[in-house]
């Protein structure tokens, strides 16, 4: 075939030809669902505070409850439907982190408890922990050097 386009020209042509995701439709949905998930989190924070717990315990317990909810919704085959509607609205909250742990664990159960669930559970969340904890160690070292 006659080469009518270079790779660069073809990429530009394809970009123009391919429809983009509609931000105008997606952002309100992400805002709404993301906001509501945070309101649920605020509800638990307020409740635990009201029970007289100390600050660190409140934040830990809120995380635990929200993660459990995310995992429960994943188990009931609902979180993927929510994600299809909300996009980042359900990926970015900590419930999305929980979904990213429960979903590969369920998917790879067929490969066994050790190399299936055990190894694949952190398929997506693993990189998050590696980079998050890594970053916290870096800033911790810098903080130590600056403060001493």
């Amino acid at each position: 075939m006659q080469q009518v386009m270079t790779k660069d020209e073809y990429k530009k042509y394809v970009d123009k030809k391919s429809p983009n995701s509609s931000l105008i439709r997606n952002i309100p949905k992400a805002f709404l669902v993301g906001g509501l998930i945070c309101v649920v989190g605020q509800f638990f924070t307020n409740t635990f505070k009201g029970m007289g717990m100390e600050k660190d315990a409140v934040s830990s317990l809120t995380s635990i409850v929200m993660i459990s909810l995310g995992i429960l919704f994943t188990a009931l085959n609902l979180y993927d439907d929510l994600g299809k509607f909300a996009g980042a609205g359900s990926i970015v909250p900590i419930t999305g982190f929980a979904n990213s742990i429960a979903s590969p664990a369920m998917e790879y159960k067929s490969e066994g408890l050790v190399l299936g669930i055990g190894a694949k559970m952190f398929l997506i969340a693993g990189p998050v922990l590696v980079h998050g904890i890594g970053a916290s160690i870096i800033v911790g070292i810098i903080y130590y050097l600056v403060t001493t």
């Binding site: 997606n26 993301g34 906001g35 993927d80």
Partner: protein
């Protein structure tokens, strides 16, 4: 308006804005969910270190701590408090200590549901 109502409204608004930023990133950059999550946690750690994210948390409450940037906030805050107590050792213990509850819950419950429940085909 009472304080409880205000806390809900600010959580909704701040959480909504943070998730909308994630949506813009997904749609504009075609980043996969894994990369979005990594980005948000790391950004959360560095914004906290710069003292900026504390201000977002003061305004948004759970609206700032529930998004994954808040996970980064917990990591960084935990690290600083352990460095204050134990020196350099704290840089290696604080992050995991502060987030241990959530991560452990994810491991235990994630494992349990995987044993019990099955993924379903999409319609």
């Amino acid at each position: 308006m009472n304080n409880t109502l205000i806390s809900y409204i600010s959580a909704f608004l701040v959480g909504g804005v943070i998730c909308s930023l994630g949506q813009i990133l997904i749609d504009k950059t075609k980043l996969t969910p894994a990369r979005i999550l990594v980005l948000f946690v790391t950004v959360g750690v560095f914004l906290t270190a710069l003292g900026l994210y504390q201000k977002v948390v003061d305004i948004g409450g759970a609206g700032a701590t529930i998004p994954l940037t808040g996970f980064g906030y917990s990591l960084a805050k935990g690290t600083f408090s352990d460095v204050d107590k134990h020196g350099l050792l704290g840089a290696f213990t604080g992050g995991i200590r502060a987030t241990a509850g959530g991560v452990s819950a994810a491991i235990v419950f994630g494992y349990l549901v995987a044993v019990i429940f099955k993924p379903k085909a999409k319609a």
